[in-house]
Amino acid sequence: MPITKREVEKIAELAHLELTEEEKEQFTVQLAAIIAYVEKLNELDTTDVPPMAHAGRDERADYAQRDDVVGEGLGSELALANAPDPARGYFRVPKVIEEG
């Protein structure tokens, strides 16, 4: 399944990346090569093979849950300490304009 420049643009849109023309050309070629390579997996019959989405080995990870107890958080000052544009206790961003 060769990948087209149009598809590269669509993926970039989904990933919120704004690619330059040069990057688009380059990625089209490189992604096509990688995709062609990974097509290799189709040599394998995986009809009855279950997918392995989790790498953990513990059958029942009940202990992986927490009790409903309020703990200490960061508080607003520390929360905002790394913010590029903190204002009035909030994170400020350029105006959200609904698309469409």
Partner: protein, 494 residues
Amino acid sequence: MAKREEYEAVIGLEIHAQLKTRSKIFCSCSTQFGDAPNQNTCPVCLGLPGALPVLNREAVRMAAKAALALGCRINRVSVFSRKNYFYPDLPKGYQISQYDQPFSEHGEVEIDTAERDERGRPLAWRRKRFRIRRLHLEEDAGKSIHDGMPDSDRASYIEFNRSGVPLIEIVSEPDFRSSWEAYDYMQYLRQALQYVDVCEGNMEEGNLRCDANVSVRRRGTATLGTKVELKNLNSFRFLQRALEYEINRQIEVLETGGEIVQETRLWSEAEGRTYVMRSKEEAHDYRYFPEPDLPPLVVSEEWIEEIRRELPELPNHRKWRFMEQYGLSIEDAATLTSTRALADYYESVVRETGDPRTSANWILSELMGLAKAAGIEPFASPVTPTKLAGLIRLIAEGTISGKIAKTVLEEMFRTGQPAETIVRERGLVQITDAAHLEAVIRRVLEANAAYVEQYRAGKEKLFGYFVGQVMRETQGRANPQLVNDLLRKLLMGG
């Protein structure tokens, strides 16, 4: 809308309910509403690099209660998935939700529903079943503030106190055929979630939110029309009005030869209409995949059964039992079962009085009126079930009249004293001594000799006047039946 009757609507609802856990679903931050912006945050719910989610056990338990209350089957294994999209109040760039292996599925509720007249009064109630496709767990996003700041024309403000508050999403099948069916279902859902104590159900605070899918088709056809997604239906009134508007809009489009476009529309309460938010072409590609940071959620049959055993009687069944067991009308039963606490209150009163009808009347007409004026819930007033039962008993025994009882109840509501004490201390005991009353009546008749003559000449309307005068003389304490009997006798006899 001449053609309105030829169409039927097909509606499905997606409801998001915040679970009332103390801490968030994947971190230990408080879920408290109304704190300073970004106060209740930590690396996890801010989506800081390297932070990881850990599931709140209580959120799972609450989701299970909700699922069982709505007749859902809980899956022994469910899987969290990431729903990927960009929005500034979505800190990780994905929402942890559930997708192809949800927490629970295949629910059903049977509820009373009715169409309403123009003034919103129910026409005929009927029972109908509505199916629930799935109920799953997910996390809430933060909040974006687009208005009200000095630079709101060019900036939005984001805060994350709500980020990570546990939600259940309840997706119905497209089983609703009118806006009122959807309305009644939504009302029931809120009530059921409140009964099992997992959600505050306050739409104004946003802890219950609703989106709808709407299409219309000609009656008798089985195929589905093109559906439109409606968002921002954040009160019961909005929900019903927006659906009604949208159904009519779609019928009109079809009737004028147009086609329905698959799109997302927002309800604007101010304009009383829906408008396009985004079209199908711009629909998101959420790229769901299993959340690698959380192991599959495994629950046991024993655990499910333990929760099932803890469930209270559900509101619909309680309502129907009240109608059958206590002979109440559907409206009275509905009001008395509107909350679990009120229904418990009512049944406690009935247990003591043995008179379901009178108990219902006193709660519905008197106690609820006082509570409403005071801005509290009737079951939270100082008038405990035992005290209200005490009042009702005094009436039944003839110690006080119904009229006096209302005064006594007001006093009870204000002071929390038992009825007996108020009646004793204020000397409100009913006068049932015939000789005493006869003397009073004679005095009244003597003082109104001219009216007595008119009455005897045929002006029978004056009877009520004499009763009133006797009551005034006795500060309302006279037994009304006895007053009637004696007065009639004395007026006849002379």
